[in-house]
Amino acid sequence: MSTRTVIPMGPQHPVFPEPLQLKLSLKDEKIVDVAPALGYVHRGIEKAAEKNDFTQNVFLVERICGICSFIHAVCYCMAIEDIMKIELPPRANYLRVIWGELHRLHSHMLWLGLLADSFGFESLFMKFWEIRERILDILEKTTGARVIISACAIGGVRRDISDEHLQEILTVIDKCEKELNGIIPVVMSDTTVKRRTVGVGVIEKEKAIHLGIVGPVLRASGIAQDARMTGYGAYKYLDFKPVVEESGDCYARAVVRAKETYQSIGLLRKAINQLPSGDILTKYKGNPGKAAAVSRVEQPRGELIYYVEGNGTKNLERVRVRTPTFSNVPALSKMLPGMELADAPVIVLSIDPCISCTER
């Protein structure tokens, strides 16, 4: 006869880069229930965004996340540009794609490394992070910062990328691709990786939409849904096709992210080769009027949505941020029950949780 035991997983746990607590109810080694507990990194950023000048918010929203910071700024700026009817110069749209895909590339490599770390594959973890460093070096060269690059501005981008740096990006991503060719097959086909991920934490296609999951988690369940398919920015010129897997388990989520690293490299090459010349910033006057806009973009972790409402002053009436992890956390209550306690770290990591994004 077994009784239920409640194990608090987190807020400090070796696989969590950020604090999150999951109260796991167990019957022997089997998980029967899960309750997420949040509130360790809430910073009140939505409230702060109402108090700031709308131009200062570009820097504020970048600080929601330390990994996909630039993409937060892009989404916020898109909403403001929609309200103020600002047309972007074509070059600015392409530069946003280039920096956005560089962020996705380093985020996915960070995650692939963490996945390897979660089941004790230390050498694979370090190799992914070594390659990731080269992308961070590019970000530093082109913007002066490694993570929070502050390159986005309302009306375009704040900086241009020189021809010399564009050439260097192409050289570096060629090198990264060669190195990834050596280690991504390990994620895809290694027996130890497969034994920890295949058939673990499954979300079936039929349940995926209903659960509200987003990003690679949704695409790993066989749903071809990616905000880049809407063609925002320069994506409409890049012949974007989402990466989709069918099995809906942790393995499929790893495969989606692994394939998306190659996809980002491909998008970077296309964007650089098609990059038009010209201005990078459209000047505008005044404040956002009494209007509301909803914008959405694709972060490495999934769909990001901003609702922004102006009131004619320099302060905004409301800035609402819906981040991908906020949508993926509830699905853990379907992924975890029925699995072994030892599977919990891999399953939780498979949604690539970003708690700073979730709590804002």
Binding site: G212, K290, A291, R296, G310, P330
Partner: protein, 131 residues
């Protein structure tokens, strides 16, 4: 996706373009229908409109968004969508904590403490009329 038109009774606030007005009485039935039609619940946005809350429920199907707009008096209870869409429980608990929206039938109830600590201000997202 902007709209500067205003409705006569709420002149001071904009309305999101294409938003479908909904009431407390038909909210659940409308959302059940959307669920059956394969819509995904993206999120909800709560706005403090003085005596009322304005809540937008955002849905998506095949990359097309649909917005439901609900105006409710602050003392009224809003039916929870968490029994239709499980993912609504975080969204509604957040609105309850930060705005003070009252929900009936909330599937998982954090009791008004999802993000904030015990010593934090209550409903910090409400507009401060004295500020």
């Amino acid at each position: 996706m902007t709209q500067t038109d205003t409705q006569p009774q709420e002149k001071q606030f904009p309305v999101l373009e294409g938003a479908e007005n909904i009431t407390i009485d038909n909210l659940t039935a409308r959302v059940k229908k959307l669920d059956e039609e394969g819509y995904r619940l993206l999120t909800a946005t709560c706005l403090d409109r003085g005596e009322k809350y304005e809540i937008y429920y955002h849905f998506d199907k095949d990359l097309t968004m649909l917005h439901l707009r609900l105006l409710v008096n602050k003392e009224e209870e809003v039916p929870s969508l968490s029994l239709i869409y499980l993912c609504a429980f975080l969204i509604e608990n957040e609105m309850k904590e930060l705005f003070g929206v009252k929900f009936s039938g909330l599937f998982v109830n954090y009791g008004g403490r999802l993000f904030l600590g015990e010593d934090s201000d209550i409903t910090p997202m409400l507009k401060c009329v004295d500020c």
